[in-house]
């Protein structure tokens, strides 16, 4: 059983690495900022989750596994926030998306206009 | 061929060093020059750490040779090798280069900050950070000062 878990862990780690490469390819090939942010966040969340899960299975139940869980929680907290900050900055700079419209919700303004920041 | 495998790190150090110097020499932008210098500093770090690496060694944090980690490490190595180059049954990498480069990194960012502060003040004084334009502005100012001096002597 432990052996099987180890090999499943190896497989998941490889899958996570593959997903990271896919995310990197997406960043290079996607047409505009918003889709690229999506591809990059695949790397952070999907790739990192699979990698950490695989590493956890490979190492069995140890103190190190608890540390991996904490690292995963930290990545889950910070990476989506970073992607949100990027997308917000792109919106505030006025970058229009490749598909769809730049639909401004009634009453909301991009931060640039509200706070007077000339970026 | 064995030169490449045993000295690959040093070749990369030289490439990075020369690349950093090339960036510093070829560009006129003060900030890009600071970036080139930062790359140069990291190449020196790569050199020191490569020199300190010991084959089969681990990080320089003392562990018991009889503990699980110690046994896992020494099981992969020849016992004669461990006896000759190890300390108390475990082979470690040399800690001295790590100490030198650790402080060098933090000092490097401090000097980077000073250099960038100078660049910011240069920009405020001259309106540009390109070395060519700064030199031209200096020449123009010197020429103007000379003209004013010779004009004021009332020839």
């Amino acid at each position: 059983m432990v052996e099987a878990l180890y090999w499943i862990g190896c497989g998941l780690t490889l899958l996570g690495a593959l997903l990271t490469v896919v995310g990197a390819a997406g960043v290079l090939r996607f047409p505009d900022v918003y889709t690229r942010i999506h591809a990059a966040s695949i790397t952070d969340t999907g790739g990192a989750t699979l990698l950490l899960l695989g590493l956890g299975l490979m190492s069995g139940l140890q103190f190190a596994t608890l540390k991996l869980v904490i690292v995963w929680a930290f990545i889950m907290l910070t990476s989506p926030a970073a992607a949100h900050a990027l997308a917000n900055a792109a919106y505030a700079s006025g970058l229009t998306p490749w598909i769809g419209e730049f639909r401004i919700i009634k009453g909301a303004t991009p931060d640039a206009k509200k706070t007077g920041n000339a970026s | 061929m064995s030169f490449v495998t045993s000295h690959f790190n040093y070749v990369v150090v030289i490439v990075l060093m020369m690349g950093g110097l090339f960036i510093t020499f070829s560009t006129g932008n003060l900030i890009k020059r600071m970036i080139g210098l930062a790359i140069f500093q990291t190449s020196v770090g790569v050199l020191y750490i490569s020199l300190g690496k010991v084959a089969g060694g681990t990080a320089a944090i003392t562990i018991e040779a009889t503990s699980e980690a110690g046994r896992a490490l020494s099981s992969k190595l020849d016992p004669g090798y461990v006896a000759q180059y190890g300390v108390d049954g475990v082979v470690y990498s040399n800690p001295l280069p790590h100490v030198l480069i650790l402080t060098a990194i933090v000092v490097g960012v401090s000097t980077l900050a000073v250099g960038l502060a100078i660049a910011v003040r240069v920009r405020e004084a001259y309106g540009t950070v390109e070395a060519g334009e700064i030199a031209a502005a200096d020449q123009a100012a010197i020429a103007q000062a000379d003209r004013r001096k010779s004009g004021g002597r009332g020839r």
């Binding site: - | 070749v11 020369m18 790569v46 300190g52 084959a55 401090s110 900050a113 660049a119 003040r121 390109e130």
Partner: protein
């Protein structure tokens, strides 16, 4: 390749791949003209370097490189291009001939000279066989710290580290003198002029919540790294930079005003000086109690150390000496990084407006 070098195989391949990535990144940084791109590539370069350092068993250094290179260095560079311009002028290929030739000649000579360097991983090289091995053997008896790097940095080479701390303090002073103490922006706000807004605005709920959650954790982590410096990778330098990063995060999300009210620039400068004072003070305390400068065996007054519990098995003087100087390093490094950030971020908007502002507007990289 037989013997010890054969065991380098997998590690050697990873080492090779990472170093090739460093070279590729360096070429990309050289080619790119947009400085924002160059700065972000430098951040990636630092992170790849941190991974390489971990492969090379340099845990402390990897830690420092990751925090400093991808954290503070990027912030300081971004602050600089915000205050200057963010695109370099085009270089004609003629300007590259002379530097290129010089670099090729010197590089060739260095490669020729590199043949004499010891083989990679050689345990019997002059670098690894004498003082390095001696430190590993003597740390257990002399100092008792598990992390040999901290023992060497704090005790055996403590004088060096005092010099480095003073250099960091001097650099912080230099930046503060050149860019101002950050208070010019505060006084501008009081006079009613529009400041440079480095905040994310009041309606960034996600970022504010995330920052409120993370900043205490980051500070706690900084203290953890500080006090575990002699048990595992860590120490004063890393902890100081992590502490400064917490303050910088606060400034980026809540605005420079709020941060300057929480951590006043004058207090930051005073703490930087206090750190160097603590470090040198420990050295003087050793002299007062009968020893030489920074010899921690004389940290306590004569007779006191022998009465401490379990004095035969612990070098309490060394233990407390290293803790005290690491505290000094933490204070100086954290306060200096905060002062540097205040210098760049607090430079008043007037200075930026006079020379025409920055031109990163709306670029799609």
């Amino acid at each position: 390749m037989s013997g010890p070098l054969a065991m380098l195989d997998v590690g050697a391949i990873i080492n090779g791949v990472l170093l090739v990535m460093l070279v590729v990144l360096m070429c990309a940084i050289a080619r790119v003209r947009n400085l924002l791109t160059a700065i972000l590539l430098m951040g990636v370069y630092s992170l790849v370097m941190a991974v390489w350092l971990t492969v090379m068993d340099a845990a402390d250094v990897a830690f420092t490189e990751a925090v400093v290179g991808a954290g503070v260095s990027t912030v300081v560079l971004l602050g600089a291009i915000l205050l200057t311009r963010s695109e370099t002028a085009a270089i004609s290929w003629k300007a590259m001939i002379a530097p290129g030739l010089a670099v090729l000649v010197v590089g060739g000579l260095l490669v020729f000279a590199a043949q004499d360097l010891p083989d990679f991983g050689d345990p019997a090289s002059p670098a690894n066989a004498y003082v390095g091995k001696l430190y590993l053997e003597m740390t257990g008896g002399d100092i008792g710290a598990a992390n040999v790097v901290t023992a060497v940095l704090g005790s055996y080479r403590g004088f060096d580290t005092l010099g480095e701390t003073t250099v960091i303090f001097a650099a912080g002073l230099g930046v503060a003198l050149m860019l101002g103490f950050g208070e010019r922006a505060m006084s501008d706000r009081e006079r009613g002029r529009m400041p440079v807004n480095v905040s994310a605005g009041e309606d960034h709920v996600v970022l504010r919540v995330m920052a409120k959650l993370l900043i205490p954790l980051i500070v706690l982590y900084a203290f953890y790294v500080q006090f575990h410096g002699d048990l595992g990778p860590g120490g004063g330098f890393q902890a100081g930079v992590i502490m400064a990063v917490a303050v910088i995060l606060h400034a980026l999300v809540f605005g420079l005003d709020a941060t300057m009210h929480a951590v006043r620039p004058g207090v930051a400068r005073a703490i930087a000086a206090l750190g160097v004072l603590v470090y040198a003070g420990v050295g003087i305390a050793n002299i007062v109690h009968g020893g030489t400068f920074l010899n921690y065996d004389y940290l306590f007054p004569p007779g006191v150390e022998a009465r401490l519990p379990d004095a035969a098995h612990h070098n309490w003087g060394q233990h407390f000496g290293i803790m005290a100087i690491e505290a000094g390093v933490l204070l100086t490094v954290a306060a200096t990084m905060i002062t540097v950030f205040y210098g760049f971020a607090g430079r008043s908007a007037e200075a930026v407006a006079v020379v025409g502002g920055d031109d990163t507007h709306g670029q799609n990289p």
